[in-house]
Symmetry: C2
Subunit: 516 residues, 2 copies
């Protein structure tokens, strides 16, 4: 069914051997009579795990607004319990034993069912590609983009605007790609389609369709990293007064509200994927807790097989606690929240983060007053946790726009210099923000079939264009509204004061400093 | 203090960048006034984690033999509880948030204290080295040795006997290493010093000292993977009748017994390490449960720094549940087991596994009767979970010892062929065992500065010697005694019958087959 995409696999991936111990195990599983005895595996016997039970205490979500109830301590407790070998979907004896690299069958099945609800009719059900050129939004999450650099991977920045990737710019980049100078044409696109980190953009449906068509045209694999999927702010019901549970027990209203919200989501790349060229990454870090350290990848059989082999020969398998927690959580009430309860929690969580977003933008805009739009401004993110504050550096008294001759390797303006000054002032004044430079994708050219980076001087024109692009666009700060209301209000206030001083005419500033 | 070992770092390790977001965070931590506000991190606020409490139910270990009590359901329950922000060493709000790649400070401190108890006076407190040649015991654990093969790493097998690595053989291997033909001299040794997987050997103190001296002589980094450290069977007190808790509450007797047992352990490589050339890997997979998926590495500052950078840009950090569990478990009673209680659990666990070891050896020896020593035999492992059963294939009616001319690339004997036949018969008869071939380290020669494997025909003499060594020594089966008594008894019985048929004269065997 899926298109043959095996030419995308790296030399490393193709060279990876299956774990021979797991191979024997599978061989034996297929061949043996029922009741066969194994003396093969080095598994401690489950009767010797000193664990009789685990209880996870969570809030009940059957009330109208479970997030509001939880925040005010006005909630019913629900307990997810698992014992050694009781009726739990994932008993301790199974969850805490060695298991397959891909996780337990029970949990995989549960997550596949969730996929069917969210990404309707998923045709595929699971890579690391070191080597050559990959595409990423020109500002992206370094937790991911940094990691393969040491394997010699080169990231190629894709131009974005406030809605995310610009399809025409992506097409132009690939159309004008010169393999003789730039090496293999990029064949993987890493992107964060909702509440993009750091710019906050959410790709509209039309762009998603165009990007997928371009992926087909240029034979590109899409890695869809979607941690903020459940933090989408458009089409949420307005926040109603807390109803103390009346009408709250999975009532029709509650259910239809959730449907309505989710139905407005732009389709994921996974749900558009007819070729098997999408790897979708989900996580519960943002909607449950980061310490869960559990995510899942949905992809075609080809990629799934290689990911499983990678896991079998490295970290081996996900931890039992998180697998128990999710298995229990997704059980139907009264045992767990069930998918409906989970979505109800997510919806109200999105309402809460939307409120925090509005609080932050209001604080900065009100604080700047008439200078909003002159000193700084922002688009309103439709999802995620970040405001991408545009700092209008050209208003700075020391801004310089024609620093260097056009054939020089240095950028034309002092934007990067000024933004660093602003960042340092924020630190000194007691507020930490993330400057755009932290997220800038640095394109390093590479000759075809070369394992070492090109000397930057060997393609000065291309390199300068890239460096300039990123430097000119680095006049942004990423502000997180994930903290408390107090942190948002106080932090915004310090930021506003720091911006005022930053843009103050030189004479005023000198006076300020003398006063200190 | 540590010797400068930075020349051991791979190109990849040296090329790995720190995660710039974490860099900003650390910068800010050092510079800021108290009470500074962060708008930098994309952390969900802990008040929105839907978790109020987790309870891990475990057996109390203050009785004389907690393992015996647990196995018979005759135990007191103890509950490790952690709440959102209570008095726990690791509260949910901290444990379930993003944290440093190296884990929480609290748990690191706890584990360092445990190290001080076990490896006295550890001078260092935390690598993947792709590229070139590494040493491993000639039969080793493929879960580890397989994983770096796709990065082009070459394993060089070190001769072992029933006590593990033979120091003189290691010295000879390094002395006769020809870098012009074989590439860079091996500079890393991966070994399993206790209950070696698969051969069951435990390195005596004298060998450890000699191996460490050789590591200094030849500038080798030792990776000490020690999952069976707490399953050492020598010097255990004989199993006494269960005393129902009398004298069991951390009494002096209990304590001194534990001391005695541990004091007999050969020193770990870590405790011999004056240069900072040892990376010790510990895990609770064998003494708590594999699903915990938590281990720790103790090493010098150099390696620690690079491991942290690797973690920060890949899996990010250990999961919160396991960190909570261990933090609570190592608290002093009555909150947790404390180090003494943990050692008490381990000691009695070792007694239990020793009993299982003896059961398995007795079953096979008794089953074979007069043929024990003729058909098969074994050494008695002093630790771990495995019996390494020697199969005397030269007794097989079809054994051939001079198959090929000495300049051929094929092995001299049909040992490998016969052992595969035996393995298949075991499968068919309903018992799964692990053949030695699964664990054989395959030396593949590599020219210096070559990224591809040498064609095997280009150094036939060396290659043949290696292939022969491994083939001749592959007449072993790894038998796990980690299962139930019932599995051990039944599995051993099937194995004995299979061995009898395997060694039966051809005419007898034919008759058997005709009868079926």
């Amino acid at each position: 069914m899926a298109v043959d995409l095996s030419h995308h696999l790296s030399v490393e991936t193709k060279a990876r051997l299956a774990n021979p111990m797991k191979t024997i195990w599978r061989l034996a599983q297929g061949k043996l009579k029922a009741g066969a005895i194994t003396l093969a595996n080095g598994d401690p016997h489950p009767s010797l795990f000193p664990l009789s039970r685990v209880d996870f205490h969570i809030p009940d979500v059957s009330v109208d607004d479970p997030v509001e109830a939880w925040r005010h301590g006005d909630y019913q407790e629900q307990i997810l319990s698992t014992t050694v070998s009781g009726s739990s979907p994932l008993a301790l004896r199974t969850a805490m034993q060695y298991c397959a690299g891909k996780g337990t069958t029970e949990l995989c099945n549960t997550l596949q069912e969730l996929n069917l609800v969210l990404h309707t009719d998923v045709p595929q059900n699971n890579v690391i590609f070191p080597g050559d050129n990959f595409l990423a939004e020109e500002f992206s999450y370094p937790g991911i983009t940094n990691s393969p650099l040491c394997h010699g991977l080169n990231w190629v920045p894709v131009p974005i605007d406030s809605d995310g990737i610009v399809p025409d710019a992506l097409d132009h980049l690939l159309e004008t790609w010169d393999s003789a100078v730039q090496g293999r044409r990029p064949h993987v696109l890493y992107c964060i389609p909702v509440g993009q980190n750091p710019t906050g953009g959410t790709l509209p449906m039309e762009r998603r369709r165009k990007i997928y068509e371009l992926a087909q045209k240029w034979d590109i694999v899409i890695i869809e990293d979607d941690p903020y999927y459940f933090l989408q702010f458009d089409h949420l019901p307005s926040q109603e007064p807390h109803t103390n549970g009346v009408n709250g027990l999975n009532g029709v209203n509650g259910h239809s509200k959730q449907k309505k919200w989710i139905d407005h989501f732009a389709p994921s790349f996974l749900s558009l994927d007819v070729d098997g060229r999408v790897l979708r990454i989900d996580t519960v870090s943002k909607v449950i807790a980061p310490g869960m350290r559990l995510g899942w990848i949905t992809c075609s059989e080809l990629f799934h097989r290689h990911l499983e082999s990678l896991t079998d020969s490295s970290t081996q398998h996900p931890h039992g606690w998180g697998q128990i927690f999710l298995s229990e959580l997704f059980r139907q009430p009264p045992h767990g929240w069930g998918p409906d309860g989970f979505l109800r929690w997510c919806e109200h969580l999105a309402i809460e983060y939307k409120r925090k977003r509005d609080l932050m933008i209001t604080e900065v805009r009100t604080g700047l007053g008439d200078d909003w739009g002159t000193f700084a401004d922002c688009d309103v993110p439709a999802g995620g946790m970040f405001v991408w504050l545009r700092v209008n550096v050209e208003q700075h008294p020391n801004f310089a726009s024609d620093l260097t001759a056009s054939d020089s390797l240095l950028p034309q303006t002092n934007t990067a210099y000024l933004m660093n000054e602003l960042f340092q002032s924020c630190l000194n004044n007691g507020v930490i923000v993330m400057p755009a430079a932290t997220f800038a994708i640095q394109h390093q050219f590479r000759r075809p079939d070369e394992t070492h980076m090109l000397d930057v001087r060997s393609c000065p024109v291309l390199l300068k264009r890239e460096a300039d692009d990123r430097a000119q666009k680095s006049n942004f700060l990423r502000l997180s509204f994930g903290g408390t209301d107090d942190a948002i209000v106080k932090g915004s206030s310090i930021l506003v004061e720091t911006l005022r001083k930053f843009f103050a005419p030189i004479e005023t500033r000198l006076t300020d400093e003398e006063q200190v």
